[in-house]
Amino acid sequence: MGAVPFFAYVGLFLLLPTAIIVVGSFFTKDGTFTLANFSDINKPYIIKSFTNSLIISSVSAVVGAVVGAVLAYAVVTGNPNGILRRLVTSAAGVLAQFGGVALAIAAIATLGSAGFVTQFLLDRGINIYANGLWIYDPPGIILVYLYFQIPLMVLVFLPALDGLRPQWREATESLGGSTWHYWRHVAGPLLAPSFLGCTLLLFANAFSAYATVAALLTQGGVYITLEIQNLLTSETEQTQPGLAQALALTMIVIVVIVMSLYTLLQRRTSKWLQ
């Protein structure tokens, strides 16, 4: 009986919306059964949106994971109750949730074509947009995404680093091992599953992000979440709700695969680091 609230919650907020999407993806706008929504995914403009989304998600996940891991390591080597650690973890906690409209506006106000950093540099003869407005292209989107990817990595990777015991390093040294040996044969293999798992989590985080790009790019379905939005609203009679739901279903499948791998890797991590 105690599990009823849990199942009610999962049913209402996870299973029901998924079921609506699955059913909706098999129907046309007029309500007749069709498989066309899935063959339409193969259209060049949809493939392009998917590719763009996969690129920004992968790159921002890998860069975010590496930078976040280094930052987390720097925090761990300090005093566990020190001011640095408390400051960084609480800042990361806030910034990891900062993605969305607020982050997009912050990016436009600083690095947009009329942003104050852009103007400040321009007044000193440095034009960061000499080769075009890259802030709206994948490099710019990746840069903006890193503002929530790095803090998230710090948060999820800290527990793994905390699991490394100083005794292991001492044991390596007393056996004549160098720092390289310690990282190569002890800490590296121990941290690898957690690091890869966290990278996958970051990928899923970026892949499903919508509000940040939607507020930054107000036109064009160049990323898959924007494409779904475009297919749902139109003043020119071009809505395709079935195709939008088929795309949402494809996204769910990708995220389920990624998150299953993440769970497997987490299981491996928790076996070693307790």
């Binding site: 259209k43 060049p44 403009y45 949809i46 392009k48 949106s49 763009n52 436009i108 947009g112 074509s113 009329a114 947009y129 000499a130 080769n131 075009g132 407005l133 709206y136 790019l217 107000t218 036109q219 064009g220 379905g221 160049v222 494409e227 475009n230 609203t233 139109s234 003043e235 020119t236 009679e237 071009q238």
Partner: protein
């Protein structure tokens, strides 16, 4: 059980609404003329009878008319001053579709609407036919023959730009130059906005395309993107004021309003690609104030009404007739951007075909 009682209650509510609506229409139809089905002022006994009936109704409901859009502020106060009939103006920033969606059968429903072409064509079943006394001045292609809708004002797709940030524009192809890096935007996503789509159609015709072939327009924006000049942001008063979008494809009469914020704002309309777009008036079939609705249309299509639209930078539909009759306000007419050349207006079918092409090709073109 629950559902059953709910649907019964809804049924009762619907009946109540119908009953109220029936009462409403029977009381307004008490006079000599039932204005709700009258298709012209003369058929209902002349202008004096229409004014008297409208005054008896006592008010008029309008929707989605921003006071600074095509000078609706002056039109609304002018109507009330002339006939003593107060106007209830709701949701001034609503869209065309929202206007028609507000036809809910209550006494608060809009009596008249001012909608875009697509919405007018899709909702003729909800409109009442009416022909204003100046009907003959409206060109044949600009009205539904029985008066279900009739164009009111419009303008041309232009390129608005801040002349302090970019050089003077003399051709659409100028925008591909290095001086326009990261500066050119559309006033709507062409895959879903009518204004955005017309911007692409205009660019296409300027690049050698036709109203039937928008592919050159999409190709133009692809080149613009390749050159690093395209900005994927929708132009609004805010982005223009902030300097994010110094060059915008938009309707010339809406672009003119940016002059308030940016004094160096100019508008260029290419002589080889003049794309016209008009809004339309229509009367709600179930208007709560049928006589006032018709009197409002008479007022809008009078010389005074047409000149207010002109004052707001829009081209009123009777402009050609009024220019030959000498009743157009010459000062306002001279303030419009000069457009030498023949305007082209895409038909509903051409717009639909262009829209399908843009949806299928836009993402690859601009990413």
């Amino acid at each position: 059980m629950k559902l059953g009682s709910l649907s019964r209650r809804l049924g009762l509510a619907a009946m109540a609404i119908l009953f109220v609506a029936a009462c409403g229409s029977s009381s307004t139809a008490a006079g000599a003329t039932n204005w709700a089905t009258t298709t012209s002022a003369s058929a209902g006994g002349g202008m004096a009878a229409l004014v008297a009936a409208a005054k008896a109704e006592g008010q008029l409901n309008v929707i989605a008319l921003p006071p600074d859009w095509a000078d609706y502020g002056d039109l609304i106060s002018g109507f009330t001053a002339k006939y003593g009939i107060p106007i209830n103006s709701v949701n001034p920033n609503g869209s065309s579709q929202q206007e028609v969606d507000a036809f809910d059968g209550t006494p608060n429903a809009p009596d008249v609407v001012d909608v875009g072409q697509a919405v007018a064509l899709n909702n003729t079943a909800k409109f009442a036919p009416y022909m204003v006394s100046t009907w003959g001045d409206i060109p044949a292609g600009a009205k539904e023959p029985t008066g279900l809708w009739f164009n009111d004002y419009g303008g041309y797709m232009g390129i608005g730009y801040d002349s302090s940030k970019v050089p003077t524009i003399t051709a659409v192809s100028d925008l591909l130059g290095a001086a326009f890096k990261g500066k050119v935007a559309l006033s709507g996503d062409p895959t879903k906005s009518n204004q955005g789509l017309n911007g692409v159609i205009m660019a296409g015709i300027a690049s050698g395309g036709t109203l039937d072939d928008v592919s050159k327009g999409v190709a133009f924006f692809h080149s613009l993107k390749q050159a690093g000049n395209y900005v994927p942001v929708v132009c609004t008063a805010a982005t223009v004021k902030a300097g994010q979008t110094p060059v915008c494809f938009e309707w010339d009469y809406l672009s003119a309003s940016h002059g308030k914020d940016v004094s160096t704002w100019k508008i260029f309309v290419p002589t080889t690609a003049i794309i016209g777009g008009y809004y339309s008036q229509a009367i709600n079939k179930a208007a709560p104030h049928p006589a006032a609705a018709r009197l409002w249309e008479e007022y809008l299509y009078s010389d005074a009404g047409q000149n207010f639209w002109l004052k707001g930078g829009a081209r009123p539909v009777r402009m050609a007739a009024m220019t030959s009759a000498g009743t157009i306000n010459a000062t306002y007419a001279a303030a419009l951007p000069q457009v030498p050349g023949t305007p082209q207006v895409p038909t509903g079918a051409q717009t639909a075909a262009a829209s399908s092409y843009v949806v299928a090709n836009w993402s690859q073109a601009v990413s």
